[in-house]
């Protein structure tokens, strides 16, 4: 992924499949502060002219490529426009676990990020990447595909501003979480208070 100093990110992905597949689905997690442009795709070095079937499901978007003759190498590239000083650059992932490396516990995913804007002030927040020997470059090898790469850029290089997205259906997770925390807090406090008083009374 290459980040430029004007709020753009160019993402290039290269998948080497262990088996040939003809129907491939990729998916990505949209972010309120990042917008994905057109996706260019090649399968076994042939450019794919057809547009994938796009399906939205909440913040997830899936792209299904059908009718491609069994391809083993997929390349995808797209631009992302970000707003604000902290942005999550969406990563297109195959919609399922990648094959595990022989003798390993997970897949082999290499992530490489470069910053071409003015030096300094950029940090990769998540996942954890290690600085390379060349300046403004980071890398990591992961066991699985991350859904995003979160970066912080200097305010001078940020295009516009952006806040968290409060829309969408969270399925009641927030109130369930609150009830869960409250249950434990009340239980623990009541227990200690009751037994504390019992023993104080006995002594």
């Amino acid at each position: 992924m290459t980040l430029t100093g004007d709020g753009h990110a160019a993402v290039a992905q290269d998948y080497a499949l262990t088996g040939a597949v003809s129907d491939v689905t990729f998916e990505f997690l949209t972010d309120a502060c990042a917008e994905i442009g057109r996706i260019a795709t090649t399968a076994d070095d042939h450019s794919i002219a057809i547009d994938p079937a796009e399906k939205r499901n909440g913040p997830w978007t899936s792209l299904q490529f059908t009718g491609i003759s069994a391809a083993r190498r997929w390349r995808l590239s797209y631009d992302v426009t970000t707003r604000g000083t902290v942005a999550a650059v969406p990563i297109l992932m195959p919609a399922g676990p990648l094959d595990t490396e022989p003798g390993g516990r997970g897949a082999h995913v290499s992530v490489d990020v470069r910053w071409t804007g003015p030096s300094g002030g950029v940090s990769i927040l998540m996942p954890r990447l290690v600085p390379q020997s060349t300046p403004n470059a980071w890398e990591a090898t992961l066991l699985a595909m991350p859904s995003m790469i979160r970066v912080r850029v200097p305010s001078t290089a940020a295009a516009g501003s952006c806040g968290p997205d409060e829309t969408g259906n969270a399925g009641g997770l927030e109130w369930r979480f609150a009830v869960f925390v409250l249950t434990m807090a009340v239980w623990m406090t009541a227990y200690l208070a009751w037994f504390g008083r019992q023993w104080a009374a006995r002594s």
């Binding site: 909440g58 927040l125 699985a144 969270a170 997770l173 869960f180 434990m184 239980w187 023993w199």
Partner: protein, 483 residues
């Protein structure tokens, strides 16, 4: 991880080991007698005791296994914490006061004293060894996975390394080490989770954003993946099992007083609440940040190695290392006590000196540590499934003769023996015949039902226990001592 980060990880593990060995060496002279080695000289106060109870319970099944459970099943499994606490309430009201007053060393000690029966002691010790072999294999498996991912060690070598670390500190320090390392475990877990949870929360846009992403993947992730029936059956096995768990009983024997014991249970709730929230946020966040892990049990290792910033990741990884070595240590210590104190000292060589029994205990730690290594090599299932299976076995043969035995005078040795045997066999057969709810009943529920039927039925038709055994656990009201 590689380079400097890997060096930092191994340095932290080495420092932890040095602290553990230091605690062990410092306590070595205090553990030359059984009271020191097995029950820490009955010196634990409420807070250290609470950390000890929590540290026994919160195993790799929680820090790695439950994170994996939340990763693939979402929020609902969080309710297992308060449901499990119901088991702790049973312990606080019906088990802990009488067990602490008895002042034994091991759970089979209780069986020997309550039922005036060497056979009950031996049977309990043998069955505990079986269930704890399974439980210990889960700790080794979790540790093996973590070390493999962090360092690139081959899995089998990583399992052996975990077993070696666990064995070393248990041999050196006994219950004193377990207690103090329990406190260290509590501090590390709290510190790691207090740093990591806000970080994940912030990076993923808060709980609302996490919920929106999860709900879109599968609405059950934010609601009820596990129904109440499943949660009650799992938590019943784990919670009620804890009320009679041998390592928790040993910890209760190690407390200063009944007061310390009951307050310690409250403090263990405090530690568990933090950990419950932490593992929940870890699992849910990882499902959004890395949605397609090849194995849910990789959630915590990947969180520590690749997602969190280095310092927070190191704390989370170290807390996991401490978790599986510490709980493994508690299991080993309990199993060693079953061999040295109950089978060797109680049955085979009753005249053996105390020093000889402690030596037998240390040898038993080494020998017993080896068997679960072989099971861990097989990678039987998800870590938390193995822990739940061991809990099911344990509750099926221990809950009734311990909890009802402490509170029903008429219980007899024959009833306890029939109950243990019937409960364990039923649970094993039920697990093999049908999963998960053969005839609408879970294997642990079936085990407990059969165990209870045999316990009451056989007790009523067999000879009551002697007056002395009765006096220890059912003293006249005037002789009950507070504190």
């Amino acid at each position: 991880m590689g380079g400097a980060q890997l060096i930092a990880f191994w340095t932290a593990v080495a420092a932890y080991m040095a602290v553990v060995v230091g605690i062990g060496a410092w306590n070595y002279r205090r553990t030359s007698k059984e009271e020191g080695f097995l029950v820490a000289g009955r010196s634990l106060g409420p807070i250290v005791g609470g950390a000890t109870l929590m540290a026994n319970q919160v195993s790799a099944g929680a820090t790695i296994g439950i994170v994996g459970f939340h990763y693939y099943s979402g929020f609902s499994y969080a309710w297992s914490w308060p449901l499990t606490w119901a088991g702790w309430m049973v312990c606080a009201f019906f088990v802990a006061p009488k067990i602490r007053r008895h002042a034994g060393f091991t759970l089979p000690d209780y069986f020997a004293a309550r039922y005036d029966s060497r056979a009950a002691r031996g049977t309990a010790a043998l069955f505990i060894l079986v269930a704890y072999t399974v439980m210990l294999s889960a700790q080794y498996q979790a540790g093996g996975l973590l070390f493999t991912l962090v360092s690139g060690l081959e899995y089998w070598k990583a399992v052996i390394l975990v077993a070696a670390i666990t064995t070393a500190y248990t041999m050196l320090g006994g219950m004193y080490s377990n207690a103090y390392v329990g406190v260290l475990k509590a501090v590390l877990l709290l510190a790691g989770y207090l740093v990591a949870v806000p970080f994940l929360w912030r990076q993923l846009g808060g709980l609302h954003s996490i919920g929106v992403a999860l709900h879109a993947i599968d609405p059950r992730l934010t609601a009820n993946w596990f129904g109440w029936r499943q949660l009650l059956s799992i938590s019943g096995a784990v919670g009620l099992g804890l009320a009679a768990a041998p390592y928790e009983i040993s910890a209760i024997y190690s407390m200063q007083s009944q007061r310390a014991t009951q307050l310690a249970i409250g403090w263990s709730f405090f530690f568990q609440a933090f950990i419950g929230i932490g593992v929940l946020v870890f699992g849910l966040s990882m499902r959004v940040a890395v949605p397609h892990l090849p194995d849910p049990d990789l959630g915590t290792p990947m969180l520590g190695t690749s997602v969190l910033p280095f310092g927070a990741g190191l704390l989370v990884l170290l807390a996991a290392v401490v978790t599986f070595t510490r709980t493994g240590g508690a299991i080993l210590l309990t199993a060693a006590a079953a061999v040295s104190h109950d089978l060797y000292g109680g049955l085979l060589a009753p005249r053996a000196s105390e020093r000889a029994r402690v030596r037998a205990g240390r040898v038993a730690v080494v020998l017993f540590s080896a068997i679960p290594v072989v099971l861990a090599f097989q990678h039987l299932s998800l870590v938390n499934f193995i822990v739940i299976y061991a809990a099911r076995l344990m509750v099926s043969f221990l809950f009734v003769p311990v909890v009802f035995g402490l509170n029903w005078k008429r219980a007899t040795a024959a009833g306890a023996l029939a109950s243990m045997l019937g409960g364990l066999v039923t649970c094993l057969v039920w697990s093999i015949v049908g999963n998960p709810y053969f005839l609408g009943v879970d294997s642990a529920e079936a085990g407990v039902l059969v165990s209870a039927a045999l316990f009451f039925g056989v007790s009523l038709i067999s000879r009551p226990v002697g007056a002395e055994a009765e006096r220890v656990f059912f003293p006249p009201a005037s002789s009950s001592q507070p504190g």
